[in-house]
């Protein structure tokens, strides 16, 4: 085959759609920047403010450590409770939503319910629960439980939809009742992924539980917000450092658990 003929055959077709799309995105980004009045002068002023703010944060002030500890413990409890409840409710929800095991008249409404749980940001849900249930940790637990359900139930359902149906078929053919089919042919295929999702959700619930306090739903967030409002930036810094330390610790622990499961 001659070189010219090979070149004419074109191994990779140009993707004009993608090129035009990227170009349009770049043009819109420039346009949006001008609309929002983002320019160098504004950026320079912002950096100056930022510098002063950072200077007031250091050194961090841990003298009110009892308040800090109390808030952190409450956040931790909110996260643990919301994760446990969310996982417990997500197990049946995930099974019901999996289209390969559930009939459509169960799977479709369950999917709609899970989508509903996911549709609102957890802070908005927390505000709703604070209004409905009153200030405090109960609202935080309820909000994060809803968020966990929306997240894990969806991942559970997707993991179940990806299983091999061959063992399911074999166990059914042996005359096993439905619950035994789940126990022997479905759960072993998804168990390690489920544990992974649960650890991840616990992780993000730890992070999220530090925020719901800002809207009055319990935890360290309330303390943090109060410190911001009183311009106690050194205390803010202490709180932020503690949160970061906690998240790092959670990261290390969940990494260890995941490695042990493999």
């Amino acid at each position: 085959m001659s070189g010219a003929a090979a070149a004419a055959r074109q191994a990779f077709a140009p993707n004009w759609g993608a090129r035009l799309g990227l170009l349009a995105l770049a043009v819109y980004a420039v346009f949006a920047a001008t609309q929002l009045d983002l320019n160098w002068a504004r950026l320079a002023a912002g950096f100056g403010e930022g510098g002063r703010f950072l200077a007031r944060m250091f050194p961090p002030n841990f003298t009110r450590w009892e308040l800090l500890l109390e808030g952190m413990l409450e956040s931790l409890q909110i996260a643990a409770l919301a994760s446990a409840l969310g996982i417990l409710i997500s197990l049946p929800l995930g099974l019901m939503a999996a289209r390969n095991l559930s009939p459509w008249f169960i799977a479709v409404p369950t999917r709609a319910f899970i989508a509903l749980c996911r549709s609102l940001h957890y802070v908005i849900v927390a505000i709703l629960f604070v209004k409905a249930l009153g200030f405090g940790a109960l609202a935080g637990v309820a909000a994060l439980t809803i968020a966990s359900m929306g997240f894990i139930a969806k991942l559970f359902a997707e993991a179940i939809e990806e299983i091999s149906m061959k063992p399911v078929e074999a166990v059914r053919a042996a005359g096993a009742p439905g619950a035994s089919v789940l126990l022997y042919a479905v759960l072993p295929q998804v168990a390690s992924r489920f544990v992974g999702f649960c650890l991840y959700q616990l992780d993000s619930n730890l992070r999220n539980s530090t925020l719901v306090g800002i809207v009055g739903a319990g935890g360290i967030g309330g303390t943090l917000f109060a410190a911001f409002k009183r311009f106690d930036y050194d205390f803010v810094c202490a709180i932020l450092l503690t949160i970061i330390a906690l998240i790092f610790l959670a990261e290390v622990v969940s990494g260890r658990v995941r490695a042990a499961l493999r």
């Binding site: 061959k166 063992p167 078929e169 074999a170 166990v171 059914r172 053919a173 042996a174 005359g175 096993a176 009742p177 619950a179 035994s180 089919v181 126990l183 022997y184 042919a185 072993p188 295929q189 168990a191």
Partner: protein
């Protein structure tokens, strides 16, 4: 109806259409006695798998009747279907083991139809079941592999576990759907020998779907030739002649 047909499997006018108007099985009649190996041969897509899956209702027949020891299997639902299924063992082409469970757990899957949920969950099987599982694993030569995960086994070993699982049900009938098509020729013969020996000892009749005509001749007492969704040959292996194979598979260059 003869007494022999009532002890065993009886299929009358079996029709299966996956798409309306395009039958895969076209009114199939078949009697299988209560013992022995019956091999079903025929080209791919002619409905061999559909036939045996209709028997344990993994596939829903469109029309016709299937009876095992006189009991109608067609039309069973829910608990009655489960009770019927646990009398019918099945061995699959790709073994269909639960890869993340141990060999022992996979064999005990054959008892799930008999075992209450809490016992199955806590692995508290009756001692007699455990005993029998070990005996079967001894018989298939895998008892030292009992605690290993099924995905650690080779193809031949997995199919042996599949056979042990099916026999664990204590079945009245064993269906084998291309049990050796995923195996190398030597292992295929070994696995078939094992299947024939164990089902012979347990006096369980076997319906064996198989591509390999030579293996069918060697192991079966009766051969059913299918083509186009109907039976075109039914007789002992000695009676199967090149003319019949032309009828079953079409053409003759390959013979």
């Amino acid at each position: 109806m003869s007494a022999a047909a009532q002890r065993g499997l009886e299929i009358r006018g079996l029709v299966k259409e996956y798409q309306p108007g395009k039958p895969v099985l076209r009114g199939l009649d078949l009697d299988v006695a209560a013992e022995g190996i019956t091999a079903v041969i025929g080209p791919s897509g002619t409905g061999k798998s559909t036939l045996i899956r209709c028997i344990n209702r993994l596939v829903e027949p469109t029309a016709g009747e299937i009876r095992l020891h006189g009991q109608a299997l067609t039309g069973l639902r829910g608990r009655a279907l489960r009770l019927a299924r646990r009398r019918i063992g099945m061995v699959f082409q790709e073994y269909n083991l639960v890869e993340r469970l141990s060999v022992m757990e996979n064999v005990l899957c054959g008892r799930l139809g008999y075992t209450p949920l809490w016992r199955a969950w806590l692995r508290r099987y009756p001692p007699a079941d455990i005993e029998r599982a070990f005996d079967l694993l001894d018989a298939v030569g895998l008892s030292e592999h009992a605690p290993r995960r099924a995905d650690a086994l080779s193809g031949g070993q997995r199919q042996r576990v599949g056979i042990a699982r099916a026999l664990m049900q204590g079945p009245d009938l064993l269906l084998a759907d291309e049990p050796t098509s995923s195996l190398d020729p030597k292992t295929a013969v070994e696995v078939l020998e094992l299947l024939v020996r164990l089902t012979g000892a347990a006096r369980v009749p076997v319906i064996l779907n198989i591509h390999n005509v030579e293996l069918a001749r060697r192991f079966a007492q009766r051969i059913i030739g299918m083509a186009g969704g109907v039976i075109v040959f039914d007789g002992p292996p000695e009676a199967l002649e090149p003319g019949h194979l032309r009828l079953i598979y079409g053409g003759e260059d390959w013979l």
